[in-house]
Amino acid sequence: MTTEIRKKVLALTGNEAYAYAMKQINPDVVAAYPITPATEIVQIFSKYVADGEVDTEFVPVESEHSAMSACVGASAAGARVMTATASQGLALMHEVLYVASALRLPIVLAEVNRALSAPINIHCDHSDTMGSRDAGWIQIYSENADEAYQSLFIALKIAERANIPAMVTMDGFIVSHGMEPVEILPDEKVRQFLGERKPLYTILDVEHPITIGPLDLTDYFFEHKRGQIEAIKEAKKVIPEVHREYNEFFGKNMPDFFEPYRMEDAEIAVISLGSASGTVREAVDVLREKGEKVGALRMRIFRPFPYEKLREYTGNLKVLSVMDRADSLATIGGPVFNEVRSWLYDLERRPFVMNFVYGLGGRDFFVEDALYIFEKLIKAAKGERPSELIEYVGVRE
């Protein structure tokens, strides 16, 4: 006899989905500060606290700098700790992000992508999280609300196993404020899956005093940094391991580093992150109908950078394009483009790589834009290479 489990599906915005996942995680401490478009996460969570639906210590700090600072203190005390922010908030946390990762504190941050000022703008691009790409945090870019919801559980488990902090991101407004069906996992199963945090150390163990964050000079700093780099390398093993466990436990099929789409025999492909990826897949379908060998590769985990996995997909490619929703402002295109291109360099057979920067400040990205990109790539595959490697799509030039 089989028991049919009725799935619970709720219509939730991205922010509501984040907050719901946080409720189910029931962290020991949440320290957060509101910022558009992530404000609702903090609001909804405050209500959970006020209604006694969680037993979290909620620390309504006076800034994001203090939010991440309080998270560091609480996590060093052995607590399970979360926060949420966007854009300027993440920028204000910047120096504390490095402390969190170097002290090996598995803090989880629910991030909503929004353009960094100036000009001030509240809409989506990836300049905020790309700005903290070298802070030693795991970065998981989710495409929709359901994925963001699930990714928080996965991120927490990875973070606590690898002792590395993790941020999950979703595109501001496009996902954070768009309502979508989210399959809610049973509370009890979430609790079982996550278990309890087993900290490496805690400063609340008063019988065994320790000094955390001492001055580290020329004689030791490099060794400690080197150790951190190795730990992040180890996390590359933990990430697929936790995804496997998650998928088995919940009967899901969450991809880890990449989500390939029609890549099997593709000769032309586009790499993208976040919500634009669905648009790219639609363009792939249109072109496949016409017999073009095109595919799409969604990069879900950008940090640590999954170059080993990337190479599994690039063997047959003639042309590859990277879509960046941020620019390096260094005349060398977007950050994802630069890293992808760099890691393909020493392959014997490597594709021609182009960069398309799109969607800055929340500019819409349409199927037509994706088709335009593919047209350029198809031409390049036929030997008609563009004079510029980097192109800006959807902007009035």
Partner: protein
Amino acid sequence: MPVSLRELSKRTQGLTPGHRACAGCGFPSIIRLVLGATTDPKVVANATGCMEVVTTIFPYTAWPVNWIHSLFENAAATIAGVESAYRALKRKGKIKTDKEIKFIAFGGDGGTYDIGLQSLSGALERGHNFLYVLYDNQAYMNTGIQRSSATPFGAHTTTSPAGKVIPGKLQKRKEITDIVAAHGIPYAAQASISHWLDLQKKAEKALTTEGPTFLNVLSPCTPGWVIPDDMTVEVAKMAVETRAWPLYEVENGYYRVTYKPKEYVPIEEWFKMQGRFKHLLKRPDLIAEAQRQVNETWERLLWLETRPRKEEEK
């Protein structure tokens, strides 16, 4: 009850010998007096600064208690996080000790008056149960004696140098203890290492008071103030005698000056002891201005002290 010096010296939980503070540095005494004011277990957060630097050069530590350093401006937010975790974990029965843990943050004047003021203000307003100890050496000493908003009027620092045109710092010191007290916290006080019993009583009071508490302790800096290594306590004492550094406390909003010098000692006497004021000795006009500031602050304190207490609070 304050303990005797003899008893205090027996309490092991202070600061171990071997730290690398300058000879004559004021703050090791502050750490020992504050941590010695309670036998409860303690967790300390330290802002970046001289204290953090000289006590923890890896792989050594001078701290026999749990200690964390994160950044320059976030000691208050860090200890707030630790204290929040303590409350959450205690509720869930995950804290091993039955004793009540005391949470203490240490920061210099740079990390407190200036770059860390917002973080401190937030933590005070939220009402975390912790003691914030400001060791006030009146300039950014760790980076080589730059002015802070704690630097007194007229002092020479490397960013308020006594030059041919400008005679040292032109602005007066910010009254941080008043600013902190204005948060309506239950206890804030100003103390000096020279008056150790007064300091220890205040630390004990702060550590047994529920909610956020604050101590601002004068901590002479031998290179920064340009004083001999063996004059630290004397210079601190003269700051109190000249009323440049009044000793007082603010308990539930009521001010009380805890030490009133018996004789009037002009501010010049304090200036004469320190190289950082050397250039002022030729400028009676500036000494008069410094004296005016000292008198004004002192008279204001005496006036604040006269606020009648409500019957039930006597």
